[in-house]
Amino acid sequence: MSGQDPIAAFRIEAADLLDQIEEALLDLGHRLDDRDLVDAVFRGLHTLKGSGAMFGFDALATFTHHCESAFDRVRKGLVPATQALVAVILSAKDHMRALIDGDGTGQEAAGDAILQALQAAIEGAGAAAAPDTVAEPAKAGWRLSFRLPPEAMANGTNPLMLLDELREFGECRVIARVDRVPMLPDLVPVECHIGWDLELHGDISRGDIEDVFIFVMDDMELSIEPLETAAPAAAAVDDALDDVPPVQLHAVAPATPAAIPAPDAVAPANGRQPAKSGESVRVPAERLDELMDRVGELVIVQSRLSQLAHGSVIGMEMVLRSISEEIERLASELRETMMVLRMVPVASLFSRFRRLIHDLSRETGKTIELETEGEATEVDKTVMERLADPMVHLIRNACDHGLETAEERIAAGKSPVGKVRLSASQAGGEVMITIRDDGRGIDRERVRAKAESQGLIQPGQVLSDSEILHMIFHPGFSTAATVTNLSGRGVGMDVVKRTIETLRGAIDITSKPGEGSTVVLRIPLTLAIIDGLLVRVGDGRYVIPLAAVEECIELSLEDDLRSRGRSFITLRERLVPFLRLREMFDTGTRPDPHQKIVVIATGTERVGLVVDQIIGSHQTVIKSMSLLHQAVTTFAGATILGDGGVALILDVSQLVALGQHQEERLRAAG
């Protein structure tokens, strides 16, 4: 094991478990009688309980234990699974997350409310599920008999500590049963061969005793009998849990069909202790091996270099050059491997939205189906985390504003089930994430009316379709007639736009009345390093992201002079507008006699950039621009060159938009 903090490791593991539980629960919501899913949920809860107790998350272990006990009755078929039950367990799952992330204080009330709702749901689900035993605290005390599984000590259980804990309850008499201790030659010293009988006197609840064994309970032999009955304490129970009546559940449940807390009910607890998810990345071992190989090679080259430095070799220059080339190759491969390490599939992002859709479906009363595609597409971990919030906004909008109610859909001749489709794909250096709904589409007239009433545009101002659609990204803009719990407050879309922009991405939006809307987020694969083309304009050096570069062509002096005023070149029978960066940047220098045009593209739009010189390719570590330069949109960032100087990185989408703008203007001018 590494020196990682075990608590942190547990948190990571628990988060995974909760995700699995949630996944299974959401599936269960669709297929209520699927035994496998019921088992999957139960297994998840059970594991969580166990490891929670092991790492000292007692509140979590106890809470989960109650949920598990309740859910066990579903597993045993005593109670059928219902939507209500699934909803409560989902909210219980949220509470568990809060317990894991927080210190567990001040959350008892929320937990109790959920347990209460859970009990109500269980009772509502199956009237047959009458409690089989009602365990009163036995005044006189209990007679216990327990035997740990042989491997218990190897798993970290200390029987002495269990006994000590039991002793703390009150007067206690312990008798060791040594009948199963084998003869010395057969004795395995690391196994636990001893069983114990105890008489525990005092007013103790059965639940308290069980809590002592909470972690080992499932594999051990345990019988707990009230002292009065004095039953022979020999009957071994293989799954003690089966006999455990939900003591605490009854204690808090006045069996009223209490309102099931909406999943949001625990949201404040979540908000108070935001989950820190950005702290670790799971890396497939083979990728680490690759990285190790590279590091190994680097070490070899390094030793060659030091040999060279300490001795005189004939043909020094040649050797040095070969080493330099090798280091260059290694550095680039290391970089690539390193980048790949940071990549995670979007599946984990998409799976979060299943829950969102489930909740939205309940809140809006619309039946919504989520389809996903391309979950294997990989994105930089940081990028993915920062995508989550904007996507929540977009999905909420799609469900709330986009999708119609079932009646409206039927009236419009559509299936009553609304569809939201998430897809991801990779194209060049970008990841495209598409959020599509088959709802009513964006009402241009209402957007326009709203924009006019807010003074964002002049009445009658001519706007292109995409300009109108982009109005929805304006701060404070909302076309929803009513403000709902979900959306319509007019915050959100501008935040979406800004977040995507900070990721150096772009948003495309298309919408067909009656058929739905599509929002496409185009995000660069990674934030940290890109391949760039280093160019010189005047005295300044600039980097053009190589992924956007289509080709480089020469702009001869004659062509340059001839093209004055119209700034177009013909490229494979298409007119491509070009921008003279020297003029744009106002360098005040004379053009180089051999200017080049670098043709860049986003999607199908192309634009040429006239530069003085192409210096070469450059591995570009992207640094962000200062806040003081945020009004300068031509640059996406800056980088540090080998000589310590700074080169600015051109913002491709901005420049393409500028080029398009110029083209439109020229077309309009005829």
């Binding site: 982009h470 300044g540 806040l627 330069h629 945020q630 540090i640 310590g644 700074v646 080169a647």
Partner: protein
Amino acid sequence: MEKSMIHWDATGGLEVLTFDLGSETFALEAVLVREILDLLPETAVPGALALVGSVVNFRGKIIPIADLRLAFGMPAAEATVDSRIVVIEMDAHGEPIQLGIRTDKVHEVATLREADAEAPPAVGMRWRRDYVRELVRREEGVIVLPDLTAIFNPLTGGDDAAGRASVH
């Protein structure tokens, strides 16, 4: 805009770094100052305001270089052997930003007295009054405490400005 507060200490003192711009002496709170550098090769940022017209590589970070002369209506001047960059860290909408301030000469860390300070006069100043927090009299002359927040905040843009910029 409300003026940025000056946090005089309990005894009415304020530790500052004093420096020259043209014929004037300015002072900035010493706690803001991160480093004093010789001039670095600067990279012009086309399209940026002349006030923050270039960037430098400061220990692997890209920071803007500000020429306060422009905020105070002084003519631009050639660098001299005494020219230095004072790297400061200031707060913009809750986020710390670093920037370098080009100075003609850096003097010393000194303690100013609150008793010697007075608000800029309502008339008779060559400069924008909101760019100056206080004027402090000293034997050698008057020291100007500029209001960096007032000077630079319009560039960082509040939410409002950012919103306007995002609509085309």
